[in-house]
Amino acid sequence: MEPFSHPNHGKYKVIGTRPIRHDGEDKVTGRALYGADVSFPDLLHGFVLRSPHAHARIRKLDTSKAEALPGVFAVTTAVDLPRLDDKIVSSGEGMENQKYLSDHILASDKALFIGHPIAAVAATDPWIAQEAVALIEVEYEVLDQVTDPDKAMADGAPLLHEKMTTTILGQKEAKPSNICNHTRFECGDLEAGFAEADLVFDREFRTRTVHQGYVEPHTATALARSDGQVTVWSSTQGPFRTREQVAAVLKRDLSKIRVIPMEIGGGFGGKIPVYLEPLAVLLSEKSGRPVKLVMSRADVFQASGPAPAAVSKLKLGFKSDGTITAGKVWMAYEAGAFPGTWGSTGALCVLAPYRVPHALVDVYDVLTNTPKVAAYRAPSSPQALFGVESIMDEAAQELGLDPIDLRLKNGAVEGDSRVDGQKWSRIGFLETLDAAKNSPHYKSPPPSGPNQARATSIGYWFNAGMQSSATVGINMDGTASVVTGSVDIGGSRASMAIMAAETLGLSAEEVRPVVGDTESIGHTDVTAGSRTTFATGYAVYMAATEALEKMRPRVAKLWDCPVEEVNFEEGAFRHAKGKHDPMTVREVAPKLPMTGGPVQGQSSVQPKQVGASFAVDIADIEVDPETGKVTILRYTVVQDVGTAIHPAYVEGQMIGGTVQGIGWALNEEYVRDEEGRMINTGFLDYRVPTALDAPDIETIMVEVPNPGHPYGVRGVGETTVVPPLSTLHNAIARATGVRIRNLPMSPPRVQAALAEQTARPVPASD
């Protein structure tokens, strides 16, 4: 595919404007229907029995009393699930072994985490359902459990999957362990690289499990029919992926399952895996009625997929002029109860922003008796870059360099290689750094009061391409519809309308965007990976272009000229020699029936030239040394957004991601007791930023168009969650002299670190 040039960048008619989103009115009036809003007159309420133990063998499971309770119409356990083969399948954003899928949905022989579903019931009201679950008798043989990734890696740790061995560097290890994945990248000569260095930092960092924190809990409703046809209504980030998972777990043909995506109340990656859908289907099949399941907030924390805790040991070497000479990375990511591969993504991210000629990267995914982790906004990148960006800041301090200059010196550009051997395509890292350096914030005098400081840091996400489909239908009056399979979590359907409108020479209001379901549009991968505006937008462009292409011969017919003399330019069909007045799509459309019939364009794509997105954050903070509380005085986010299709929603992604990162940095964590039980399973003690905690955030959009997209789109949604972790860490360090390499940097940790420093004076260089 030839790279796109963007001669009209900055001069678009519709792209870059801020029309009101087409689904907006329904969302501000309460008419929009989300997953839990589905209802039927004969609806049954589902309830799940979940393991109270982090690790236990299930010796006995007796559901007879629950089944006998009046009002109970169905009970399901693992015996209702088919046995699946040991086979690697696509999981929506990566690959996984499907044999673990069914155990994740309903435990068969072992409960592997607190919250692990053991059984589910459907009853006529939620109270009967809850009572029924309490009547299910389970005999557990409680086993030793392990929740820390590094403890789980140690010899003698309790094993979650006794027969699982790791493939280390292509060799299957003989001894079973909890290490489910090991990724290694190396380049150059590590020893030589460190020998060249004038300054070497060897540091350890730790982050804790955090949750995406979407306000809408998981929900699924299913209706099964006697002919095997099943409909599922779900708040999912991807109806096709949901359908695949349900079909895989239940061993059905895809055509037997229709997934209708409802409006979704946040996902951030956490609503890609299925949890409730197969249960709803089984209960509906057994009862013959529609069944709805909704997770409680505590279930969401304990039994959906949080983001992994991680430990990292990083060693970076620098020349005295700041050039990075070598990097050695060792990381362990929490995988949760079932194998996953987010660690390998972390391995790709950790040194990627910089030129590191000599490197060795070893990253492990480790099984723990905790819920299987899922994607959370730039998954694995925050944990990886937190440590690297801390060391970059230390190096800048030690070498007396401006921290942005240090990144400019080492920042990757197009053509540079990464540790995995891939080369960067056109990226805007340096441009973003320049914009940050020249920003009003950075140019203003830094805060100078006691315990105040300014710091900066960077983040990035490589974004995804994957598969999307779109159809663009031309209405008889020349307005248009665009149908895609991309769930709209943050305003993307407005962007689809904008891109279609730009292509067709229409206004955004003249294009109606529609989010289809699995029966109404071609295969489309999840709304995630910052891929929607990029890949689905690409499909929209191609579909709109096909529609225009189909209209050309119609115009030629109207003008009685060869089709080569008709071109679509500047929003209208124009005659090459100017012999006819231009005709807009609105003028051509009424003539379609008489020139050959209706016109529709369609496209299915898998675009490869994805553009990564970089961000640079600047924070001014003040620390209260007596309490350890951090107040953010001023915060700026600078991001390379490619082309901002709808600037208000791009700004929204920048700000939203930053506030999540701030929460991750300062307060959010899973607090677990000695039995591995999460004790802060609500929004009271799992502390996400409120309106009063979030600072005002200034946004600066840098546009370096991506040559891989017709309109230069780069994914923007995920990157901004990454920098706040290290930006705030660096700011605390510069304000107080203490580097807290352990997240979150909550008030008690900051206060304790400062108290320790006062008690034990720190030498000039540590």
Binding site: I20, Y34, G213, F268
Partner: protein, 162 residues
Amino acid sequence: MSSATKRIITAKVNGAELTLAIDNRMTLLQALRDAAGLTGTKEGCLTGDCGACSVLMNGRVVDSCLVMAAEAEDAELTTVEGLADGTHLHPLQQRFLERAALQCGICTPGLLVAAKSLLDRNPNPTDHEIRYWLAGNLCRCTGYKQIIEAVQDAATDMRAGK
């Protein structure tokens, strides 16, 4: 047929009298969503920590997940469905759209109701006062900035009599 554990309640909801059959165990949130079919008000946490279920009850914004349905007898309730005047959106609704103050939209109904209760009392709030008043409404998508701007815009509209 009445029983000690179920009842009929009558409340004024969005200006109209509504009569509902409820189980005493139901919260107001369940009564609105399941009995009245008013699904605009959302469930987020059921512990009063997220504000997604906010409604106005006798002029005050409350978390409907922490009000028993039975308490709604003779109460005057406003939900998100009652903010617009026919097809004429409330300034808050209009400004939320213009400022892109919603992304996934799940927190929006609760926020609109809570913001309305603020502007009904304090027509000229500072940004800090808005943030303080809305601290009980969690938004995980927007980072709040555009929400504050929208509330300020709406306040200006309302002061001008729109």
